[in-house]
């Protein structure tokens, strides 16, 4: 693969800049929309990362006064909200948008224009959230950015405790983005059920497609409760309703339940597409078919269903009756079973393979290791009595960064290194990729391993400062130092993307010798994806072509 520069079709005809912008803004092509989602999310990744860096500077020492309490409280609210809604969701929707139609041999999503609508709603939501910086201040001293935390417990969001409009910006931003996500979910489901190419029965869909289907279904039933609760909050704040107003007999606990009926399945909305990346990458780099395909599908679906019934494990400390607590301990722990099945199936896929440790596989193995720990600490939290100690402490913060950064972010990096060649036609630089991986790994473990400890030593989350002598100082200092490594790794990644986009070696159609349909078309794929609609006879159509003597279709 020679690195000749100007042989990609894209560079052949240079259009003027305005035309290009116009083309992107008005596009309904699933690939362009997917890329816009991804770029948009990367911008916000840096924004929320900078917010994290500021918080970590403040927390590096006891009694620090680098940030005022007001600013710190706004920072974690924005950091968390941005991370979940404007980094996690859009980046995964972006990959899904790009990959699902290609993998099922379709030309586009089922509703291309609805797809553009979804993206622009999400984009608008993010801008609205940050617009609060400029416009949230209306009543004297009211915060300019929301400071109610990402789960915005009532009655902190009531006008009495949150005057001004910052909370409204938070609320409206998520409402708007939520509408975008729901329409996105509708689109995924309609695409996957309605546009599969001939021969691609449900049991032959690539796992990535299966998992995006489950994700789409979860989006429908999880984002909507949040939308409903936010409408109630809107009514409380603007119309004087009393949904969450204890003065009028309203229940603030109701908000907690509604939020987590959304919030818990939401974290599976985030992780399931990541399972999807891993389920594509591990087999290709182990050179083996995925182990136990039907079990993987069943496990994903059951995680989806069970996750709807576990929300109150975020509420073990609100004084539920003992049988309520016990019930949610059980349902929560049950999730470990299907998740375990996945972990073991990935391991079994690697077992006996011929593992190539290219960068995507490095990140995938990092994911497996870290997700294992993150999941096990989740089981500790799921034990209600243990959680009475751990809830709202830094242990929880460490748990969810372990699954979010160590799991989701690592798998997203894996996905970038794996599909970037398809999206741009050029490979990412492997050396930089390895640096990216190892520095991020070190930074990640420095930051988040040490974060568990202060939690066990009684450090609550969301505190802008702490006193000396509680045994927390050195742990927090190491945590903060780790962030520097993470920042450097992210910078390397950004540099690698830009450099490789311009200079990287040409990828060809199928650089990884992979098996799913997206690798059959050119890199980047033409607007119509496939000149003619393909047909499949097994789960790995390209394997069948490459191994006519021993096709998969014989075993299914």
């Amino acid at each position: 693969m020679a690195a000749s520069t100007d042989s990609l079709p894209r560079f052949a005809a240079r259009k003027n800049a305005l035309a290009v912008i116009y083309e992107w803004l008005g596009t309904a092509d699933h690939k362009k929309i997917g890329l816009m989602y991804i770029v948009y999310a990367l911008v916000f990744l840096v924004v929320m990362g900078v917010e994290a860096v500021l918080m970590r500077i403040q927390l590096a020492h006891a009694n620090s006064s680098f940030l005022s309490p007001e600013v710190f409280n706004r920072l974690f609210t924005l950091h968390g909200t941005t991370g979940v809604f404007f980094v996690g969701m859009p980046i995964l929707f972006g990959f899904g948008n790009y990959l699902v139609p290609l993998m099922i041999g379709a030309r586009d999503m089922a509703y291309p224009r609805l797809n553009a609508f979804s993206f622009w709603m999400t984009a608008f939501g993010g801008l609205l959230l940050y617009a609060s910086f400029f416009a949230g201040n209306s009543v004297a001293q009211a915060g300019i950015a929301p400071d109610v935390g990402w789960f915005a417990y009532a009655p902190l969001t009531a006008t009495a405790f949150s005057p001004g409009h910052s909370t409204d910006y938070w609320n409206l931003a998520l409402l708007v983005a939520g509408v975008g996500s729901i329409s996105g979910g509708v689109n995924f489901i309609a695409t996957i059920l309605g546009l599969r190419c001939p021969g691609m029965t449900l049991s032959r869909m690539p796992l990535l497609v299966w998992m995006n289907l489950v994700m789409g279904g979860l989006v429908l039933v999880t984002i909507s409760p949040l939308t409903a609760a936010q409408l109630m909050l809107l009514a409380d704040r603007y119309l004087g309703a009393h949904f969450f107003d204890p003065q009028a007999g309203g229940s603030v606990v109701m908000w907690m339940h509604f939020f987590w009926i959304f919030g818990h399945p939401e974290v599976y909305v985030l992780i399931i597409p990541c399972f999807a990346f891993i389920s594509e990458i591990v087999p290709v780099f182990s050179r083996k078919a995925i182990f136990g395909y039907p079990a993987m599908v069943a496990a994903t679906t059951s995680i989806g269903f069970v996750s709807l019934g576990v929300w109150a494990h975020h509420l073990f400390t609100i004084g539920m009756p003992s049988y309520g607590n016990a019930f949610f301990v059980l349902t929560t722990m049950v999730v470990a079973v299907p998740t375990g099945i996945k972990i073991f199936n990935w391991l079994a896929t690697m077992w006996g393979g011929r593992i190539r440790f290219a960068t995507p596989m490095l990140f995938a193995v990092g994911f497996l290791f870290q997700f294992l720990i993150g999941g096990l600490t989740g089981i500790m939290l799921a034990t209600a009595p243990f959680d009475w100690q751990l809830a709202n402490s830094y242990f929880v913060v460490a748990h969810f960064h372990y699954v979010i950064v160590g799991g989701i972010l690592f798998s997203i990096f894996a996905a970038f290194y794996y599909w970037f060649p398809k999206m741009t036609g050029r490979l990412l630089n492997e050396t930089l990729g390895k640096w990216n991986f190892w520095i991020l790994l070190v930074g990640f473990h420095l930051t988040f391993d040490t974060m568990y400890v202060p939690g066990l030593l009684g450090m609550p989350r969301r505190i802008y400062t702490y006193e000396a002598g509680r045994g927390w100082e050195s742990w927090n200092l190491i945590t903060s130092i780790g962030v520097i490594f993470q920042g450097v790794a992210v910078l390397i990644f950004v540099y690698n993307m830009v450099w490789s986009y311009l200079r990287g070696p040409l990828a060809g159609n199928d650089p990884w010798d992979a098996w799913t349909l997206e690798w059959a078309t050119t890199s980047p794929p033409p607007e119509y994806n496939f000149a003619q609609t393909p047909a499949v006879r097994s789960r790995r159509p390209l394997w069948d072509i490459k191994h006519p003597e021993d096709p998969d279709s014989k075993y299914e």
Binding site: L239, A241, H242, R537
Partner: protein, 198 residues
């Protein structure tokens, strides 16, 4: 060895997939149901928890006429679609218009009831928890009816202009799913507000 598009076998003829219109509408309905569920749960949870009056029994009048109209509109909608499928466009237009009319009567009934509550009974969304949950649940449903009426009106205009032909049956049918859903939700809302809550 690398595979290229040329090696991929091409589409086979007999390949049936679910209609993406129906799947899409079905998905939307699932999402909407989740929204309504949350509002219904809030309603039921707050029954009898208001700190001050009025109570539902004191002010609510059961909207019998509106309910009958809305429920019958599902039947007229069904007949309209059946007529369209058979190409009887006159019957289609008549039933379609009837559906619209029944929906409009329903929404008019709600408007009159709200007017009565607000101006005669001085009962608003701010009054107490009952007001809060009543106006939001009934209002949420009413807003869905209004969206439905707008859709009905658009199709009706197209029909009058002669733009709706039997090949559009599928699309009209997808829209009718929405209308049936709004109807079905009313059964739940009605039961919650006027039977359980009263």
């Amino acid at each position: 060895m690398s595979a290229t598009e040329a090696n991929i076998p091409l589409g086979e003829a007999a390949w049936e997939l679910p209609s993406r219109g129906k799947v899409g509408m079905g998905s939307l309905i699932v999402a909407e149901s989740a929204i309504f569920t949350i509002f219904v749960v809030a309603y039921i949870f707050y029954i009898g928890k208001s700190l001050s009056g009025p109570t539902p029994r004191e002010v609510l009048r059961v909207p019998i006429v509106g309910t009958i109209c809305l429920l019958s509109s599902s039947f007229t909608m069904h007949w309209a679609i059946a007529a369209l499928r058979k190409g009887r466009s006159g019957a289609f237009r008549a039933f379609w218009f009837l559906t619209f009319l029944l929906g409009a009567i329903f929404i008019g009934g709600t408007a009159i009831e709200w007017h009565h509550l607000i101006y005669q009974e001085n009962f608003t969304i701010q009054t107490n928890l009952f007001g809060t949950t009543y106006y939001s649940l009934v209002g949420l449903h009413a807003s869905h009816v209004i969206v439905g009426l707008i859709g009905l009106a658009v199709i009706m205009i197209l029909a009058v202009l002669g733009k709706i032909r039997p090949e559009h049956t599928e699309r009209c049918e997808v829209f009718s799913l929405y209308w049936h859903f709004v109807d079905a939700v009313w059964v739940v809302v009605f039961t919650t507000v006027y039977i359980v809550g009263r």
